[in-house]
């Protein structure tokens, strides 16, 4: 009996140590990517290529979901606000919830599942087919040549995608509230403009999306490079990327919100 208890405790200890070791490896890998980023800044063409795959190809899902999230917010907000006779505040509500929370968070979740997983699969397959090892043999640093450009493309795309998401959302809210339902055009915009603050709301939302971009890209490239070089290993790593980065986005969002909007 005591043997079982001891082995159970050992299991907990083993997992904790493994988790800490993994976290340490990820941190070291993140620093390594930053250290080797010089090449991708010098040869910016590499980053541009990856921007196409991670930024441009994610655009359609970001635009469509932004539009629909905004439309739903407009509809639901109108239903509730018109009970209190303040349906013109629907613009404020849509803009604030998008710019502060939904824009950065939902865009980052979508980005993690579309572009983050693609990043992991690409790097993982390159590792499994020994392309990375081959580069190493030719004295080409795979981290500088393959990983860093993808990382930076992710970091650059994320804030832009989040901004596009928010703008599309506000447009969707406008479409539903003003065009379909008939809320007054002028008060929709003027209430929104007087209640959305540049520094508190928009700048903080932008900073949030930058953090999310760094987190998602760092997790994606690490999982790709750390995966077992088999088909199963790549598949496990991809699942892990999406799960870990989604959890990190939500946790990070809570922490950042607590810092940014406390006492308002």
């Amino acid at each position: 009996m005591s043997k079982h208890i001891i082995s159970a405790i050992q299991g907990v200890g083993h997992r904790t140590l493994e988790g800490i070791r993994r976290l340490g490896r990820a941190t070291l890998y993140f620093l390594l990517v930053l250290w080797k980023s010089g090449t991708s800044l010098k040869r910016f063409g590499l980053v541009v290529r990856e921007l196409y795959y991670f930024g441009v190809l994610s655009l359609i899902i970001i635009v469509v979901s932004g539009l629909f999230v905004g439309m739903v917010l407009g509809l639901q907000g109108y239903e509730t606000l018109q009970k209190y006779g303040s349906e013109t505040a629907v613009g404020t509500m849509v803009a604030l919830s998008l710019v502060r929370e939904l824009g950065p968070v939902v865009a980052a979740l979508l980005f993690a599942s579309s572009a983050g997983s693609a990043m992991t699969v690409e790097i993982g397959l390159m590792k499994a087919t020994e392309q990375l090892a081959a580069m190493d043999m030719m004295a080409v640093d795979p981290v500088a040549r393959v990983v860093a450009p993808r990382f930076w493309a992710g970091v650059i795309s994320m804030p832009l995608l989040a901004a596009i998401f928010s703008v599309m959302g506000v447009f969707g809210g406008y479409l539903v509230a003003v065009v379909f339902i008939g809320v007054d055009d002028g008060s929709f915009w003027s209430q929104m403009q007087s209640n959305v603050d540049f520094r508190v709301d928009i700048l903080n939302g932008f900073i949030k999306s930058c953090f999310f971009g760094i987190a998602v890209s760092a997790i994606a490239v690490f999982e790709g490079h750390d995966s077992l070089p088999t088909a199963e290993g790549v598949s496990v790593a991809t699942t892990r990327t999406v799960v870990t980065s989604s959890l990190v986005i939500l946790g990070l969002d809570f922490i950042l919100t607590a810092f940014m909007f406390r006492g308002l």
Binding site: V48, Y52, V56, L59, L160, V196, D201
Partner: protein
């Protein structure tokens, strides 16, 4: 994919993204009304009670925004609130201007209202407004009303 097409798509993406950021800051966040940084002067006023006034609340005169609340402090000398106001330079107010804390609508946000007086001398940087009027606190008003009602009934 051809290099030129790739560059074109990425260029479009980056321009759209930056455009979205600009729309957010200018159209939605209203950054245009923000750059009144250097061309303001500072005046302050002591209020007995500021109610729910917040920093960056508008300062209005005849309903026009003429400045913003810069700072709110509590004074331990006079035991009242010192409200610092940034007023745009193009709006000059006489020395005997009356400042009061008002509420936009029934439940709206609070702002500082300035009523110009008739003095020849204008308020300058660092001056203090002498005549102020506190915010209306709903509980106090209800309390006074009940008190008045009670004393009315005594007459009978």
């Amino acid at each position: 994919m051809q290099r030129a097409t790739l560059d074109l798509w990425v260029g479009l993406f980056v321009i759209t993204g930056i455009g979205a950021l600009l729309v957010l800051s200018l159209k939605i966040g209203n950054l245009e009304t923000y750059h009144s940084g250097g061309d303001t002067y500072v005046i302050s006023g002591n209020f007995e009670n500021i109610g729910g006034l917040k920093v960056r609340a508008p300062v209005k005169s005849s309903g026009v925004v003429v400045g913003r609340v810069a700072d709110i402090q509590f004074s331990t000398k006079t035991y009242d609130a010192i409200v610092t106001l940034n007023i745009e330079n193009r709006y000059q107010f006489p020395k005997d201007t009356f400042a009061s804390i008002l509420t936009a609508g029934l439940l709206g946000e609070q702002y500082v209202g300035l009523d110009a007086g008739g003095d020849e001398v204008m308020l300058e940087e660092g001056d203090t407004i002498m005549r102020t009027n506190s915010a209306v606190v709903l509980e106090e008003m209800i309390g006074r009303f009940l008190f008045d009602k009670a004393s009315e009934n005594d007459d009978f």
